[in-house]
C-alpha cells in the first residue's frame, strides 16, 4: 500500500540490504549532547518561569528553543555519523542546515506551553505534539540530506511506531518537566535526573527512527569499509564541541540571570517589606534633613499631626514640635541642636495642623548616609495623649490612696475635737439650765417690791448655787465656750488642709504658696507623727510663690514627713516615751526655694543611702511601704521641677533631705 517515495518495496533480486554498524563512542556522545540540551532547556525554563515581562519570556523561549533544537540536531547528526555504512556517504549541506530549524520551531511552541506553567493534559499533548513534529521533520529532512549510492528505504510500520514512540516519549519528558516544576527539594538532583531522562528520550527516539531506515545497494557493488568513519568522528566531535559551548554559554547565562533575578527580587522584597513596615508602624516615622525640613513621613505620622501627607512633607520641624531643642533650629542645624539628645527618648508637645497641642515622645537618630554632604535624621514620634491621661489617672489614684491611708488618722484628728466640743455643749446645756433657773428666780425677786422678798426665795437661789456647784459652772462656762470654738477651728483647719492637700491641678504647673502647701500637708499627716515626734517648722519671711505641680509637691512633702516619722519610730520603738523631732525649714537661696526636712531618727548607712531613690526599694515591712515614695519624689522634683534632692544621713543620728526647686 505504501508504494511511493521511499516506501516502495525494494526488489531484493536487484538490491541487497547493506548492514550498517554503529560507532558506540558517537552513540554515547549523542546521548551526552541530548542530555546537555535537555539540561539547558530546563535551566532556561526555570528562568522563563520566573520572568514577569512578556518580552523577557519571549527571549527565554527563543533561547531555550534554539539551544534545545541545536542540541537535538547535534545529537541527531552525531547519531547519523555513528552509523557506519560500508559505502561512501556524504551530506547535502543546505538540507542539513535546514534540518536545524525544525526542532527549534517545534521546541519553541513546546516551551511556550511549558513556560506558561500550564500542565493540563491537553496542553501537554499539544506541546508533545509540537516537539514530535519538530523532531520528526528534522529526521526526514536530515535523512534527505544523506547522499549515498544506495536506495534508502523506510519501513512504514516502523515509521508509524517511531512517530508514536516520539510522541509518547515527548509526553513522558514533559511530565518529568512538570514534576521538576513542582519539586522544591533536591532541585539540582531532580534537574539532572530530568535532563538525563529527557536526553535519553530524545536519543532513543533517534535510534528507533534509524532502525526504520534501511539501505539497499545494487547487488555486486563493492564496499569500502573505512571511507568515512575517521572524518565522521572528527566532524561530529567538532559539531558537538560547538554545541557544548553553546549549551554552556546558555546555562551560564541562565545562572547569571538567575543570580541577578534573585538579588533583584531580594532588593524588591526588602523595599516592599520596609515600605510596609514604615507605612504601618504604630509610631510616626519622619526623616528630616539637617535644616529640619521633613523629607518623608509615614501615615501614622501625618495622621498624628493632622496633616495630608503631601502638605507635611517640606514642613519645618519647628512647626510640628514645641521642644526647646527643636526651636533652636532657627539658629543652628539639627545636627548641633540634637547633639546631646540623639538616641534619647524625650517628651515634648506636638503641634497639629489646626494648632492644637498634644504630648508626644520623640527619639531622633542620625542615618549614617550623607546626601550632598548633609546628614538625614530619623525621628520616631509617638502620640502619648492616652498614656498621659492614664498617668494622670494613676497619679490621682495614688493620691486618693494616700488620702485613704491618712483617712483613719484624719478621722481621729476630727473625732477628738468633736468629742470635747460635744462634751462641752452637753455641759453648757446642763449649766444653762441652772443659770436660767437662777436668772428666773432673780427676775422674780427684782420685779418685786424689796420689802416683799422672802428669805425663802433667797434661800432657794442659794440652794441652786450649792446644788449645782455654781462656782464650777461659772468658771467653766467661758472655758467651755472658748475650747469648743477652738475645737471647731481645729476641725475647720483639718478640712481645709484636706481640701488643699487633695486639690488637683490636672498635671499643670501653677503658682503655689509653698508655706500654705507644706502646712496643709503637715496638718493632714498629723496623726502619722504626733505620737512619735514633735514637728517644728521654720519658714523664712516673704517666700515667693513657686511655680509647681501642687499635688505632686504635696505628695513629696508627705512622703518625706511620713518617712521621717517612720525613721524616728524605728529608732525609739513603739512603746518608748521618748519623742523624736522633725524639723522643716524653708528658705530662699538665690533663685531656688530650699526645703530641708530633718529627722533625728534611725538614719541610714551609706550603701542604703545610694539605693533609696530606686523604685520599689524599701526597708519597711510589708504593708508599710511600697518603695515608691522616694522614687516618685525624685521623679517629681528632679524631672518635673528641674530641681534637686540631696540626702545626708548618719546612722542613729538622723537624716536630712534637702530639696531645691528653681523659682522660675
Amino acid at each position: 500500500m505504501f508504494e511511493f517515495w521511499r516506501f516502495k518495496t525494494v526488489s531484493t533480486d536487484i538490491y541487497k540490504l547493506i548492514e550498517g554498524d554503529y560507532d558506540y563512542f558517537l552513540i554515547f556522545l549523542s546521548f551526552l549532547v541530548s542530555s546537555f540540551a535537555a539540561y539547558a532547556l530546563l535551566v532556561v525554563l526555570e528562568q522563563a518561569w520566573l520572568v514577569t515581562t512578556s518580552k523577557a519570556l519571549r527571549l527565554w523561549k527563543v533561547l531555550g528553543s534554539v539551544v534545545f533544537g541545536l542540541g537535538v540536531w547535534a545529537m541527531h547528526f552525531t547519531g547519523m555519523l555513528a552509523l557506519m555504512l560500508p559505502i561512501p556517504v556524504s551530506y547535502d549541506v543546505d538540507l542539513t542546515l535546514l534540518s536545524v530549524f525544525t526542532p527549534m520551531v517545534g521546541a519553541y511552541f513546546a516551551v511556550g506551553f511549558l513556560a506558561r506553567k500550564n500542565f493540563s493534559f491537553i496542553s501537554i499533548q499539544w506541546s508533545a505534539f509540537c516537539l514530535t513534529l519538530g523532531i520528526g521533520t528534522m529526521y526526514l529532512i536530515g535523512l534527505e540530506a544523506i547522499k549515498v549510492e544506495a536506495i534508502v528505504h523506510y519501513n512504514p510500520l516502523l515509521m508509524i511506531t517511531f512517530i508514536a514512540i516520539a510522541h509518547l516519549l515527548s509526553t513522558t519528558a514533559i511530565y518529568v518537566v512538570k514534576k521538576f516544576y513542582s519539586t522544591t527539594k533536591y532541585v539540582l538532583l531532580t534537574k539532572i535526573f530530568s535532563s538525563i531522562l529527557l536526553g535519553a528520550a530524545v536519543a532513543s527516539l533517534h535510534y528507533v527512527a534509524m532502525s526504520s531506515l534501511s539501505f539497499y545497494t545494487l547487488i555486486g557493488s563493492t564496499f569500502d569499509y573505512n571511507t568515512i568513519n575517521d572524518s565522521a568522528v572528527a566532524f561530529s566531535l567538532a559539531i558537538s564541541r560547538i554545541v557544548f559551548i553553546m549549551l554552556f554559554i546558555t546555562i551560564l547565562c541562565a545562572l547569571i540571570e538567575d543570580k541577578f533575578f534573585k538579588s533583584d527580587q531580594t532588593i524588591e522584597q526588602s523595599v516592599i517589606r520596609e515600605t510596609d513596615i514604615f507605612e504601618h508602624m504604630a509610631d510616626g516615622l519622619l526623616t528630616i534633613n539637617s535644616s529640619g525640613i521633613v523629607k518623608s513621613i509615614n501615615s501614622s505620622g501625618f495622621l498624628m499631626f493632622g496633616y495630608e501627607r503631601d502638605t507635611l512633607i517640606g514642613c519645618n520641624l519647628e512647626s510640628l514640635m514645641k521642644s526647646d531643642i527643636i526651636q533652636q533650629l532657627s539658629v543652628t542645624s539639627l545636627d548641633k541642636a540634637l547633639k546631646d539628645f540623639l538616641g534619647q527618648t524625650f517628651v515634648t508637645q506636638g503641634v497639629k495642623q489646626d494648632g492644637s497641642e498634644f504630648p508626644i515622645e520623640v527619639n531622633f537618630s542620625k542615618i549614617p548616609l550623607q546626601t550632598h554632604g548633609l546628614f538625614i535624621f530619623n525621628c520616631v514620634a509617638r502620640d502619648i495623649t492616652q498614656r498621659s491621661e492614664l498617668e494622670a489617672k494613676l497619679r490621682q489614684s495614688q493620691k486618693l490612696e494616700s488620702i485613704g491611708q491618712l483617712s483613719s488618722g484624719i478621722a481621729h484628728e476630727i473625732n477628738t475635737p468633736t468629742q470635747y466640743v460635744s462634751d462641752n455643749i452637753a455641759f453648757l446645756g446642763v449649766a444653762f439650765v441652772s443659770c436660767l433657773n437662777i436668772i428666773r428666780m432673780t427676775q422674780t425677786i427684782i420685779n418685786k417690791d424689796i420689802s416683799k422678798i422672802t428669805q425663802q426665795e433667797i434661800d432657794d437661789i442659794k440652794t441652786i448655787f450649792q446644788d449645782n456647784d455654781m462656782d464650777f459652772v461659772m468658771t467653766e462656762i467661758p472655758l467651755a465656750i472658748e475650747q469648743s470654738s477652738e475645737g471647731l477651728q481645729r476641725v475647720k483647719k483639718i478640712i481645709t488642709a484636706m481640701k488643699s492637700f487633695s486639690h488637683t491641678n490636672q498635671g499643670k504647673m501653677s503658682l503655689v504658696d509653698i508655706r500654705e502647701a507644706i502646712e496643709s500637708t503637715i496638718t493632714v499627716s498629723r496623726s502619722e507623727w504626733r505620737y512619735i515626734a514633735k514637728l517644728v517648722t521654720n519658714f523664712s519671711d516673704a517666700l515667693p510663690k513657686l511655680n509647681c505641680l501642687r499635688d505632686e509637691f504635696n505628695q513629696v512633702i508627705l512622703n518625706f514627713i511620713v518617712n521621717a516619722a517612720h525613721a524616728i519610730e524605728e529608732k525609739y520603738g513603739k512603746k518608748s516615751n521618748a519623742m523624736g523631732c522633725i524639723s522643716i525649714n524653708v528658705h530662699q537661696q538665690d533663685n531656688n526655694i530650699k526645703i530641708t526636712i530633718n529627722d533625728d531618727g534611725i538614719g541610714m548607712r551609706s550603701e542604703l543611702k545610694e539605693r533609696i531613690f530606686d523604685p520599689f526599694f524599701t526597708t519597711k515591712e510589708l504593708g508599710k511601704g511600697t518603695g515608691q515614695g522616694l522614687s516618685m519624689a525624685y521623679l517629681a522634683i528632679v524631672e518635673k521641677h528641674k530641681g534637686s534632692i540631696e540626702v545626708t544621713s548618719q546612722p542613729n543620728i538622723g537624716t536630712t533631705f534637702s530639696i531645691s526647686i528653681p523659682i522660675t
Partner: protein, 373 residues
C-alpha cells in the same frame, strides 16, 4: 464611784470633766499612762477610761498593766482611732469600747449600768476568795480573738480554720462535731476548713468556748464538770430559740457560761460540796445556800470570772440578772430574760407571773415548752 480618765488631749479631759460634773463621781484625770498609774496607787478606781493612741504608753499597754495590778477595775477604751492592730490588742484587756465622738450621756449611762452589775460581785469577799484559788481558769484567748474578729468583720473561714488548726485538741473537737450524726452528711470531713464551713462561725465559736473554758477547769470531778457543762449547753440552746435574733450570739455564750461559777465553788470548798449538792434545788435560786456554805454564790463568782476575762458587760449582765425578777422586768427582752426562761422551762419550773405579764409571752411560753420536749 471612782473613775479615772486618761487622754493625751487636755481638752478632752476638760470636756469630760464638765460633761460629767453632775454625776458626783470621784473623777481624776491623767494625760498619759504613767500619770494614770501614778494616780491609781492612791486612788483605787472602779473604772479606768483611756484613749487608745497616746504618745509613750498607749491605751492597750496601760489597760494591760491595770488588769494585772488592779484586776477589779473596769477597763474601758474611749478612742477615735480605728487602728485594727491596736484594737485587737486592746480587746483582750478592755471590757468596753467607745468610739469618739461619744455622747457623754451614753458614756455616763453605760458606766452607771456596769457599776450596778459589778456592785454584786466585786465585793471584798469575792475578790479574796477568787484570789485564793490557785488554778483559776485562764482567759479563753482564742474565743476572745474570734469574737474580736467577728466584731471587726475581719473573720474569714480560712482565718478561723487556721486559728483552730493551731490547737490540736480543739481541731479534734471541731471535726468530731462536724462528723456527728446531728449533721447530715454524705461523707466524712477530715479537714478543718470544711468542718468550719459546714458548722458555721457561730457553732464553731461555741465549740471553742466550751473546749477552752472547760478544759481549763482543774481539780473538779469530771462527772460534776460534765453535768454543769451539759446543763449550761441545754439552757443555752433553748435560750437562743427564745431570744431575739440580734441577741443570739451573746445569749448562746452567756447560756454556756451562766453556771460556770458552780465549778469554782467546788474549788473553794470541796468538803462543802456534799452538803451543797444534797440541799440545792436544781434550776432554782440557790444563792443563799451557796453564800451560807461558801461565803459567795456562783453568780458572783461566774460574773467576776468573766469580768477578769474581759468579757463584755452585756454578757456578764445576763449572768448577774438570772435570778433578779424585778430587774429583768426593767430591762428589755434579751439574753438575760431568755436564759431565765430557758432555765425555768428545762427544770419544769414556773416562769414568774410578772415576767409573763410584762413581756406578754404566755402564748410563746407554751411553744417554748414544746421545743424543749
Amino acid at each position: 464611784m471612782k473613775v479615772i480618765f486618761v487622754d493625751d488631749e487636755q481638752f478632752i479631759l476638760n470636756g469630760l470633766k464638765r460633761a460629767l460634773y453632775t454625776t458626783r463621781w470621784q473623777i481624776k484625770f491623767a494625760t498619759g499612762g504613767e500619770q494614770a498609774l501614778e494616780i491609781l496607787k492612791d486612788f483605787p478606781a472602779d473604772f479606768i477610761v483611756s484613749d487608745m493612741r497616746m504618745p509613750g504608753m498607749n491605751g492597750a499597754d496601760l489597760l494591760e498593766i491595770v488588769s494585772r495590778s488592779y484586776p477589779s477595775t473596769v477597763r474601758i477604751i474611749l478612742s477615735g482611732h480605728a487602728d485594727l492592730d491596736l484594737s485587737v490588742r486592746a480587746s483582750y484587756v478592755a471590757h468596753q469600747w467607745f468610739n469618739k465622738p461619744c455622747d457623754p450621756q451614753v458614756l455616763k449611762t453605760e458606766i452607771e449600768r456596769i457599776n450596778e452589775i459589778r456592785a454584786d460581785f466585786t465585793n471584798e469577799d469575792v475578790r479574796q476568795i477568787v484570789g485564793s484559788i490557785k488554778s483559776l481558769p485562764s482567759v479563753p484567748r482564742l474565743l476572745v480573738k474570734i469574737k474580736i474578729m467577728l466584731r471587726t468583720k475581719s473573720l474569714t473561714m480560712k482565718g478561723l480554720s487556721s486559728l483552730i488548726s493551731d490547737n490540736p485538741s480543739l481541731c479534734a473537737k471541731v471535726l468530731q462535731v462536724a462528723n456527728s450524726s446531728f449533721i447530715v452528711s454524705s461523707r466524712n470531713i477530715t479537714n478543718i476548713e470544711d468542718a468550719v464551713t459546714r458548722l458555721g462561725v457561730d457553732a464553731v465559736s461555741n465549740i471553742v468556748a466550751i473546749a477552752e473554758i472547760y478544759s481549763k477547769v482543774e481539780d473538779v470531778p469530771s462527772a460534776f464538770l460534765e453535768e454543769t457543762l451539759q446543763r449550761g449547753l441545754k439552757i443555752a440552746k433553748l435560750a437562743v430559740m427564745i431570744t431575739e435574733k440580734s441577741d443570739r450570739d451573746i445569749t448562746m455564750l452567756a447560756g454556756i457560761l451562766h453556771n460556770i461559777g458552780e465549778l469554782i465553788l467546788w474549788q473553794i470548798n470541796p468538803k462543802g460540796m456534799g452538803v451543797y449538792l444534797e440541799k440545792r434545788k436544781p434550776g432554782q435560786d440557790n444563792t443563799e445556800l451557796e453564800r451560807e456554805i461558801f461565803r459567795v454564790d456562783n453568780i458572783q463568782i461566774g460574773s467576776y470570772l468573766l469580768h477578769l476575762w474581759n468579757f463584755p458587760y452585756s454578757i456578764i449582765e445576763c449572768i448577774t440578772l438570772q435570778n433578779k425578777i424585778d430587774k429583768l422586768t426593767n430591762c428589755k427582752f434579751g439574753g438575760a430574760t431568755s436564759i431565765y426562761i430557758a432555765r425555768m422551762i428545762i427544770n419544769d419550773l414556773d416562769v414568774d407571773e410578772s415576767i409573763i405579764d410584762h413581756f406578754d409571752i404566755s402564748e410563746k411560753l407554751n411553744h417554748w415548752r414544746k421545743i424543749k420536749g
